[in-house]
């Protein structure tokens, strides 16, 4: 892999972290409302997967999708403005945090009813297959989403018709407050794909290089026309389920056990808090998937401490600018809301 790719992945992880932390802060200050589902801890998944994808591939995501959107190339300005509900948001302020869309970048949306990403993906992939295009559709979902009926229905059809789909499970072991052993009879999510004969693997989702590699392999198979592939990435979210969730349901021991292998400090903060940790606390928290990548690059002589600082500073600055942009963006009007609803009316006469 080229050094450039690695740097770019690291930068995206830094940007993702900075963006989400700032979003949390803006939320507590009342600039963002509604449900806000943050991604810290899971960055390696979005970054590894989407760096391995082509711009011609499609992405379908959930309500926890800011980072997918950013890595896909939607400008941070447009994402932040959407979280603020402003006119220059990527969904014009109509969708908000859980419903980011960008047609041009083939970012087909964040869907907030658990299980919707499967059939949407199925339909896009059906169109791709029918037109015999070399594109793939990447479908994100969580471990909890695996128990929705559409998972089963859609995987069956995807396999039956050999559709070009990469199913990506972000297994953070929790469905809000319910731990995976309490929601799934088989906790190794990738094994659920066996009922459809879809090739499936479990991969360490805290290791961005492993994620990237696994995704590349899977996409290659898909482009060979052999049908869908399934990847389970084991990961962990450092925060509560959403900004409304203190996350106190996770036993301290468990959080620490996970940290000791992956992220020894940062998460300990969480469960004592009703509120989101400060950026300083998080910064002080030590190695996680980002730290791992940083170490890897340092050890390989690919990145100096100065360069790292520069990347971090750039990320911070971009986020700062995004907030500024979002703040200044005007509110959408009722006329714009009506126009959004009627965007497909065209010249058609209704009555």
């Amino acid at each position: 892999m080229e050094r450039e790719t690695k740097v770019s992945m690291l930068y995206d992880m830094l940007l993702a972290r900075a963006f989400e932390e700032r979003a949390a802060r803006e939320y507590t200050q009342g600039n963002i409302a509604g449900f806000l589902h943050l991604y810290p801890g899971e960055e390696a998944v979005a970054v590894g997967v989407l760096h391995a994808a082509e711009p011609s591939d499609y992405v379908v995501s959930t309500y926890r999708e800011h980072v997918h959107a950013l890595v896909r190339g939607i400008p941070p300005d447009a994402v932040m403005a959407e979280l603020f509900g402003k006119r220059d948001g990527c969904s014009r302020g109509m969708g908000g945090s859980m419903h980011l869309f960008d047609r041009e970048r083939r970012f087909m949306g964040g869907y907030a009813i658990v299980g919707e990403t499967y059939p949407v993906t199925l339909g896009i992939a059906y169109a791709v297959a029918m037109r015999e295009l070399p594109e793939a559709v990447i479908c994100f979902f969580g471990d909890g989403a695996v128990n929705q009926g559409t998972f089963h229905e859609s995987l069956n059809m995807a396999a039956l018709w050999k559709l070009p789909i990469l199913f990506v499970c972000e297994n953070n072991h929790y469905q809000i407050g319910t731990e995976i052993h309490r929601h799934s009879a088989v906790a190794e999510v990738y094994k659920r794909a066996c009922g459809y004969r879809i090739p499936a693997r479990r991969v360490n989702g805290m290791d961005v290089l492993a994620v990237y590699q696994a995704t590349q392999d899977a996409l290659r198979h898909i482009r060979e026309g052999t049908g869908p592939q399934f990847l389970e990435f084991e990961t962990y979210r450092f925060r509560g389920h959403s900004m409304a969730d203190p996350g106190t349901y996770r036993p301290k021991m468990e959080v620490q056990a996970y940290e000791s292998t992956e992220d020894p400090v940062v998460v300990a903060i969480e469960e004592t808090l009703q509120h989101y940790p400060t950026p300083e606390q998080i910064a002080a928290a030590g190695p996680d998937s980002i730290a791992r990548m940083t170490t890897h690059m340092n050890d390989g002589g690919l990145l100096s401490a100065q360069e790292l600082d520069r990347l971090k500073a750039r990320a911070e600055e971009i986020v700062e600018r995004a907030v500024e942009f979002a703040r200044r963006s005007p509110e959408p009007t009722m006329e714009e809301a009506r126009a959004a609803l009627e965007c497909n009316r065209g010249a058609e006469v209704l009555l």
């Binding site: 948001g89 969708g95 949306g109 059906y126 559409t150 059809m157 965007c343 009316r345 058609e348």
Partner: protein, 332 residues
């Protein structure tokens, strides 16, 4: 002009649109090899192949959602849900996705999705298979709902629905599939949601749709012999509703009767009657009335089944009662 069966008109419409536009495809249970439960997709599998006429597993939620996904990238899927009763399993795709995604994206995406489904009370199919449920689709901003009652409208409205970039639910009636009517394939279609006066009259405006149009027309004939002149308005669409056409009629007759097959309580007729009661309040000489089905799941027994929905004579009775100022029950 040719006379064709209702199902055949739908079949011709599908064929015409599939021929004209490669992005049109149909999917559903047994629509392909088998030719469709009500023959609507007959012959299309042989002509267009399995990618454009796709037999699906019994997975309503996901294959309707497949339609949503395909529509996002400019395909024109026509999803057949075998009957409206099974559409409860697909409501998330229709209500939460198809109707909302174009809006939630700030107007970025097309949604040229058609969901067709037969419904209504047919012949002793029992409670789970006899639902009407039109009202479930009416209260959804972002959706349009069409209810063709004739082969001509079936032909027009299905084609219009396929050509529209908005999501449209097309409600067909199981007992209409084998009804016959004229079809002029060259005739210019009226706007898809325009109501149609099917019979002129002076004394009473009867607003209805789908299979009840035919029953209402027969009731009107019977009433004409008694000297009661009924104007029958076929709505053709349940969202939006062409209020002007209804109001125009009421301005003439000063009496309103809404006839629907569904249970009366909170059925489609509720919206029709409520809006017209408000709009035409000062025009009305008598309370606006709804004549609908019983507040019961449909019994299997045939005699009871037919007593649970309006009939020609019950409609005539309701009209007489309205004009006579009596309760429907009181008139034989």
């Amino acid at each position: 002009m040719d006379e064709v069966l209702y199902w055949k008109a739908l079949n011709l419409a599908l064929d015409a649109e599939m021929e004209a536009d490669e992005s049109v495809f149909v999917l559903g249970e047994d629509v392909g090899l088998y030719g469709g439960s009500y023959r609507v997709t007959e012959g299309l599998y042989a002509k267009y192949g399995e990618w454009r006429v796709r037999d699906t597993p019994i997975s309503e939620g996901s294959f309707t959602g497949l339609g949503v996904g395909a529509a996002l990238v400019g395909m024109r899927p026509v999803v057949e849900i075998m009957t409206i009763n099974f559409s409860l399993l697909a409501l998330d795709a229709i209500v939460n996705m198809a109707a909302k995604v174009p809006f939630m994206s700030g107007g970025q995406f097309p949604m040229p999705l058609v969901v067709r489904m037969p419904g209504g009370v047919a012949k002793q199919l029992a409670a789970q298979h006899s639902q009407r449920l039109e009202q479930m689709y009416m209260n959804v901003p972002g959706l349009r709902v069409a209810v063709p009652s004739t082969p001509q409208d079936a032909w027009w409205q299905l084609r219009q629905a396929i050509r529209s970039d908005e999501p449209i639910v097309l409600l067909e009636h199981e007992l209409l599939y084998f009804s016959k009517g004229p079809l002029d394939v060259e005739a210019k279609a009226p706007p898809m949601h325009r109501a149609q006066v099917r019979r002129d009259g002076e004394d009473l405006t009867l607003v209805t749709y789908s299979r009840m149009v035919d029953l209402s027309l027969r009731a009107a004939e019977r009433l004409a012999e008694e000297g009661i002149s009924v104007e029958v308005v076929d709505l053709r669409s349940l969202r939006p509703i062409d209020w002007e056409s209804c109001a125009r009629s009421i301005a003439k007759t000063h009496h309103l009767l809404v006839v629907e097959e569904d249970s009366r309580f909170a059925g489609a007729g509720a919206e029709i009657a409520a809006e017209l009661a408000e709009r035409c309040f000062f025009e009305l000489d008598a309370p606006p009335r709804r004549h609908g089905g019983e507040e019961l799941p449909i019994p299997y027994n045939g005699t009871l089944e037919s007593r649970c929905i309006p009939s020609v004579s019950s409609i005539a009775g309701a009209a007489r009662a309205l004009l006579g100022g009596k309760q429907p029950g009181e008139t034989p």
